[in-house]
Structure formats: structure tokens, C-alpha cells
Amino acid sequence: MANKLLKKENIGKLIEALNNEGSVFVAPTNPTSIPPLKKGDTGGFVVYAPVAKAEEIMFDYIIPRNSFKEFLFPQTEPIAAFTIGKEGVDMKGVEVNPKETVIFGSRPCDAASVASLRAVFNWDFKDEFYNRREDKAVVMTVACTKADDSCFCTTVNLTPDTPNGSDILLRETTDGYYAVEAITDKGKKFIERFANIFSSKPQAPSLQPIADVKPIAGIDVKKIKEWLKDTKHYENPLWQELARKCIGCGACTFACPTCHCFDIVDEGSAYEGERIKNWDACQFEFFTLHTSGYNPRDTQYKRWRNRFMCKFNFYPSKFSSRGCVGCGRCIRVCPVRLDITEVMEEISKL
């Protein structure tokens, strides 16, 4: 269905049309308020954020620092409001009515993570907060023409132009346009809705080559899963060794497009307040602390092991979607450079 073309100069029109309808347009951008890493460096910090005009979009980027999961599963989200009076507690649920959110410039790995989030938020309980947001989201992915040394999508069997999870897949052409392919019905309808913005493509466009991301030799995801499944490896001293340097922050989990754990807290006064859902991280010491005082994951390696198990064993065993999409964010943001692919290599060797 690669029969349309999107000109970069038409993106402004698309944003305007969407904003006029009350929709949100999210794209890779470099907020000017964020200080550069060093003098003269402006490209180091690209994030997915709502933009009001095309000039705010960064077209030259590898991958934004954040994943776009915050637009489907906000970091902090009120789910109920309560008042406490003489007659007791009055609690009202928050009805979530999200705006249509177009995520332009998603990367294929990020798009692939949507299926992972959907799986976990619909596994037993149907999470309306997530589902309604995802239903209103249109994922417009741009296939990668560049990668960095943390990218490892091909190692987890994805590609820099994989269509999984995208509603629309865009491929950059050599003359600076996007070749447009509708992947889902939602994407098709979106293109039809903005027929004046997506122009017809006369002939086969000349596409830019996609990024050359070589699978890391020596990593075998199937083998890792089998090794992890074998419970006798759970207490292997290797875990302690591999995760010794982990400092227990939540940078990896919060940057991760598939990490989805949250905590529920009440905030407010003694008389009224809100019940709020906040991102939580299995890397935090108190994540598994029981009321009794017992903590089954009492040291950091056990917490790190859990995250790894979640990605490569629990998740693929429970759902058909993947736990890790190979975006490499956890590697980029880790303050101690605990590289998940090095652990994958180590376990593949066993």
C-alpha cells in the first residue's frame, strides 16, 4: 500500500489541521530550554514532545531520549478523586477522554513496544486508562536510516524498518520526501482523512537505505530464554557478578518503552485528594518491600535479575509480544554503563 507521498513542507499543514481539531501532535523535538551537553552541541537531547509547528521538529535524530509510552501511559495520572466527610469517604473515578494523539517520527522499535504495553494492560484487567489512550493514538513511524552503537533491534529480531505496531510507516526518499505506507486500518483512515496532505505517488520512489544494524554476534535470544526458564540458574553466582555495579536507579526502566510497572498513591489533605497512578521501577529497593518488613528482592542483583527475566523470560512466556525491542535506551542512560547486551552475550555463552 505504499502509494502515497508526504512532503516535509506538508507536515506543517498536517499539524495545523490536527491542532484545529483539538488533537495533539507529538514529534522528536529539542526543547530550547534544555541546556546543551556542551558548547555548540544541540543535537544531543531529542525528546518526543507535543509540537505546535513543523519548525520545532528535529528531523535529524537517531532515537529520542524518552520513549513515547508517556503519551499512552503517563508517568503521573490521577485515576480517582476523593473527599472525606462526616458521612464517610466519597470516591469518584476519573473518566479518561484522551485527545487524538499523533506520534510522528516514532522509531520502529518504539512502535513495536505498543503491542507489549497493550498485552500487559489487557492481560487480566482491561485498563481503560491505557486502552483509551492507545485507541486515540496514531503511530507514524519513520524507518531508521541511522543507528548508534547502543541500537540492537536486529539482535531481538526486529529491523530498522519493521512495521509492527505502526499505523503508518514512513520511509525517507533520497529527494527528501516520505514514502507512506498504511499498516493498520487506523492508519489508512488517517491518510484518507488528510487526502490533501498526502499526495499520490507517481512512480516507485528511490528510498534511502535503512540503517545497517548488525545483530550482535554471540547473542541467541532463544537460548537466553531457555537458560532463564531453568530454575536452577536462578541462584547462579553470575547474576551477582554481572549486576554488581548496578546502582539501583530507575533510569533504565523509565527510559524503556516496554517497562510498565506502576504504583498507586493518594495525595491531598485529610479532607480531599486524588488517587494517582505513578510509574514505578523494579530497580528500586522498596518496590518489593512487604508490609511485614520482608523484602524478597533485598539486594540489587536480585532486582536487576528480575528486570532481565521480565524482558527475556516472563514476558515472552506469557505474551506473544516482546519484552525487549532493542531500542538501547537502557544502555544509553545507564550511569554505570551496565549494558544489557553484554549480559545477553554472557548468558548466550553458557
Partner: protein, 303 residues
Amino acid sequence: MENTLRQKAKELLEKGDVKVVIGFGWNNRKTRTTPVFITKPEDADKLIFNPLCVNNLSLYLTRKFADIKALGKPAIVAKGCDIKTIAVLISESQLKREDVVILGMVCSGVVYKQELWKGVGTDFKSVPTDIMPTKCHNCDVRNPHIADVVVGEKTTFMPPDVPSGMVFDKIRELDKKSGAERWDFWIEHFNRCIKCYACRQICPLCYCERCIAEKNMPQWIETSAHLRGNLAWNLKRAMDLTGRCTFCGECERACPVNIPLNLVNQKLALVVRKAFEHRAGYDEKVHPPMIVFNMEDQEDFIK
């Protein structure tokens, strides 16, 4: 330099003087440095030292790392700036001087972030000044000031009399602004906080067994990443480091959303220096001013 370091580490492990050497090594692809824990003499060759060795490894000497403590007495590869933190840890009774062997590295500056070392090559003799953090430009401990062994040839580098560099420039710029403007500046930055607590976890001086951010009966600091919660967390973190922070810059380096935490910490350090004539990390026998009572203390900074 690396050879001397490896040789020394090997000796310490062979003799059994230490059970673990906490140092820097390469990642598998030799593109980034990463903390390593050497327990066998034959692994000492994995140790490296170059301008990519940005981490302040003294973090691993704190009680947050019980499993590293369990390995036995450590030796640590430390730059002068890292040694400052060790000095504060000692002054705060977190460890005794004799509990650690300090392998002090003569340093000619490191990079602000490892990913900035692009196309500079593998000759690590000098660091381009534009990718060096402010702390290195003003460093007066390039020759380690407290160490059991000093590795490397003595440097004659002298820091400028007036602190210079992006952090100090920015502080001076902010100082000129009105309170309302400064407030706006910080609100904008703290608003971005994602509450991952990387700043706390990477900080060698954040060693509380239970951080106030995790005390929830009552919840002193809201865990939500809304402005109220973010502001409360960042102010609390800054205040806790007042008079203690040695400007190692690890919090800012670790922050995944680039909050300029060095500005907060260094501003507070300047205030403490003026009020108490104290600079953290130079003498392990001197207690930080906030934990001692002194009748002579000035209070004119309280406004």
C-alpha cells in the same frame, strides 16, 4: 600509568592486603569505560585509566553496596575529585581511613560525558577542553591529596584563581536575576524530572538506608512526577548535600533529562564556603559545617 596501576593492584591482591580492587575497565566493545571489581590478581590487567573514566567509584564504598562490602577490604582507583568524596565519607564515619587502600590517579581531566568522546581517537593524552566538565578546569587535586599510592607523574597544573567555566558563569548569570526569574528557571528544569532517582543513587554521599523520598507514613515527598513532587524532591536533595557535596558532578551526569544539578550543588557550596570557610573533601578529619555546632557560626546568610 596503567601498567603501574595494574602492577600495584596485582600486588595488593596477591599479598591479600585487599580482597577487591574497585576500578575502571572497558566495556566489551572498548568504546566506554565501566566500573569493574577485580578480585583475582590475574584479572588486574583489566584495569584501565583514561579521560573516559568519569565515574566516581567511591560510591561503591558506601553501605548501599553490602555485597561489595562482603567481598572484604577494598582498594579503589580514585581521581583527586573522587578522593574528596572519600574524605567526606570518612569525616562522616561511613568508613575509616584504614578500611580502604586509595590508588590515587594523577589526572589531566576527564570528559563531561563519555559519549562526547567521538572522533577524538584513542590517544588519551589530553582531553579537548570543550568536552571537559567545569570541575576539571578548576581542579586543584589533579595530584591526589589523600592516597596510599599515587599513580602517574606529578602534574604542574594550576587552576585559575577565579573559578571559571560553564557552571560558574551560569551561577553568576543566575545571581544577577531577580528571585522570580530564578524561580522560573528552576521550575522549568525541575518540571522535567522523571523521579528515576539516578541523582540519588549515583551520589556517594546519598547513603541513607531509607531515603525520605521513600518514607510514606506519612509521605513526606510526593512520589508523583508533577511539579510539586519534583520541586520537593530536588530541593530536599540539594539541601542534604549542602556543605558536603564535593562537586564530583555525578548527579548531573547521571540525570537522563539533563537537569543542571551542578548549578544547585555548586551554588550551595559557594554559600557554605563564604559562610563557614569550609570546602568539602580536603581533610578527612574536618566535619562538614552542617553537622557541627559552633558559636562563631555566622547567620547572615539566612534571609
